[in-house]
Symmetry: C2
């Protein structure tokens, strides 16, 4: 069985000898468990974003803030599902190709009009798809099973089978039927269904406002020329994309070097956002500087560091009505924290009925060894093998290496205490 080790040095706390100079006392605090940290993040969301009313044509992808109920029966009348002739079933029960039944044609009913005839035995009405059945008719014979050789008469070549081509009033929706609940994301089919009920506008959530700040003296924006020791700012763009996809109104507020004054003035000039995403400066060596700045800027710390990998040095706090995430500078860790913690918070702010990535199960395609301790979230590719889904964990899991991230379409969860997972194991997966 081929295995590869994904361990890049998770350390058992008992073996740690902290450096005296650079390590703040907080490092000794126990790390939070994943579920505990997520629970704290969600509890901190004590409101939804405001709502607005939009035309249903503009509601795609928005989150409903109201139940949508049909005020009418759909269809609003007994409707012909076919072009043909409205008849009484009893009149044609003996009809066959050899022995057609002849009926008198008493009306012609286009869609959009109501016939004023009352159909009697021996009579038929020419009817178009979507037109209301005349009173007295209980079935429609398809045009292809008829022949109108003589003016005013029609020959019917078949009886009514299990399908009478009538869609009854209210058969699709009864008046008062709820077609969607608050918290639902509007999809094209729902747009059609809302129109079907006569609903022309709906209340939806306004997009949460998110401000993104990258910290790090080494960061420069793409498009500039790198000097020694510099790298491009990845997180601003990665987080912009992730937040925009989650339905937010995103602003890249800026890049700040690790000096507290820059960060402080940025925080002060953007105090009205719903969510503030900082990245960088959250690891052990940097923590004291950024932590001190956040404190002085009025950011109340709620927690720091979670027992997961990648993404351990997550900071979560609050500043007025804004929730503040301090994400690791490493883009892979940053994205993992986004999916695990920030996305559920955005979803709850939006008033969605479920929060965070959809989860499921897959069969593992490869085997791996681990050092136990933290919950792992491994980037993987889901391949369909017939009807079953196989998760292939990507070879490159080091959080410093970003490029394999485009190949990943799931995260595979590995429990804290696992030392090994084997091909064939069923694992929990998070769909990206």
């Amino acid at each position: 069985m081929p295995t590869f080790s994904l361990d890049d040095g998770f350390h058992d706390a008992s073996r740690t000898v902290p450096g005296k100079r650079m390590t703040p006392p907080e490092v000794d605090r126990p790390l939070l468990a994943y579920e505990t940290a997520l629970g704290i993040c969600l509890s901190a969301v004590d409101r939804c974003v405001p709502e607005e009313t939009v035309d249903i044509a503009k509601s795609l992808g928005r989150v409903l803030r109201q139940d949508v109920t049909s005020g009418i029966a759909v269809p609003p009348f007994d409707k012909s599902a076919m072009d043909g002739y409205a008849v009484k079933q009893d009149d044609v029960k003996s009809a066959s190709e050899k022995k057609p039944v002849v009926l008198k044609v008493v009306d012609e009913i286009p869609a959009g009009t109501v016939s004023d005839v009352v159909l009697r035995s021996g009579e038929a009405a020419r009817i178009m798809t979507g037109a209301p059945l005349p009173v007295g008719a209980d079935a429609v014979i398809r045009l292809e099973k008829t022949e109108s050789a003589q003016a005013g008469l029609v020959q019917v070549y078949g009886k009514v089978d299990e399908n009478n081509y009538v869609i009854y009033k209210g058969q699709d929706l009864l008046p008062g039927t709820r077609v969607a609940s608050a918290g639902t994301i509007v999809e094209p089919a729902l747009m059609g269904i809302m129109a079907n009920c006569g609903v022309c506008d709906v209340k939806v959530s306004c997009p949460p406002s998110v401000g993104i700040i990258s910290t790090g003296s080494e960061l420069v924006p793409p498009g500039t020329r790198l000097q020694g020791g510099q790298i491009y700012d990845v997180n601003s763009y990665l987080l912009y994309g992730l937040c925009a996809m989650a339905g937010c109104d995103v602003s890249i507020l800026g890049r700040v070097v690790d000096k507290s004054c820059d960060l402080l003035s940025l925080l002060n000039s953007h105090s009205d956002v719903d969510l503030l995403l900082l990245s960088g400066g959250m690891s052990v060596g940097d923590y004291d500087i950024v932590h001190e700045t956040l404190k002085r800027a009025g950011v109340e710390e709620i927690f720091w560091r979670v027992r997961i990998k990648p993404g351990k040095p997550l900071f979560f706090g609050r500043r007025g009505s804004a929730l503040v995430f301090g994400l690791p500078g490493n883009p892979v860790s940053s994205a993992t924290n986004f999916y695990l913690f920030v996305l559920p918070v955005i979803d709850k702010l939006l008033g969605k009925s479920s929060w965070g990535l959809e989860t499921g199960y897959a069969v593992l395609g490869n085997s791996m060894l681990f050092r136990p301790g933290r919950r792992k979230f491994l980037r993987a590719k889901l391949r369909r093998d017939g009807a079953s889904h196989v998760a292939w964990v990507l070879n490159e899991q080091r959080s410093g290496v970003l490029s394999p991230m485009v190949d990943a379409d799931i995260l595979v969860e590995v429990p804290e205490d696992a030392r090994m997972v084997k091909d064939g194991d069923v694992v929990k997966v998070y769909y990206l």
Copy 2:
């Protein structure tokens, strides 16, 4: 084995007795096979929409019209993956918790700066995450495995294990590596990766312009009060949502009654769209009127009617540079035709590398009987049962009934000649 019949009267052509008055001669033409019709639609797309250059922050969901290649090595230098001390591996190979190795600290290297020291045996440099390794160093010892009890010296408590915490220059990307190909849809991870390469803007497709027209005297817009025989216009909103989701710039051009002059003037005043979607008026009884109007408006017919269910009366044509789809008035049929024919055309116009819905396989959860003849596309729900995916075909398949459509997340394909499918069968599915 419980089965239910989904047949609502597909008729064998040999048994058809066409009505003499209402049926145009075209009805006798053989129906096109699904693949033939799709092939014709795709062949008619002889160009892509124009391209534009956008900032990478604005590129989410857009289709690339260029390959994206890294102009630099990523990372651009040998980079420390941890806070700690840059060392020579040979110096610390005997280090342990009981017998630490003492090294002289010759520099401190924050991220964003380049050290000018050349590390010699017995020396270490304090280094921060993301900073370039000094010349002469070949590993980083994590801060937690060190202690700096005495100024200018560091005690190292562990040797370098399989992970030396160095990310080498070009280890993520070598200069010239292609990170994305033309035709790719930009996702958040790719936004980050493009930034990582220093790319600040990219060429993407402009959104295809789509005009939507509903035909039918019975249609009124939602928000108005229904009169006898009237129903709400569903297709304008359903198709708006489907096209917007596919990346188009959509306009609802209007609703026209079945009179040719209205349709003609609408077509004439919107001749600049890439795609024109008409719905309604495509079935046998209506066909002659709309067909005649389209002809007079300069729409060249390419085909009419496909051997599928639902959605048989599909019209495809061309008017100048605009491709014209005539979709059935029935919303379910209209949406099915959208997914099977219109979406691939939009994808090809956008320059995407793959066209149409993603397909796969699933195990069927229920059994059904059919009359053979047309390829069926059944609305179904995919349920995950452990690692395997089970397709449950919805009970309600009549194309006149719209509301179950929100429950469907796949279409299950049933071959033309199938008389039955059974639970446990592996079937082809289209992911909605």
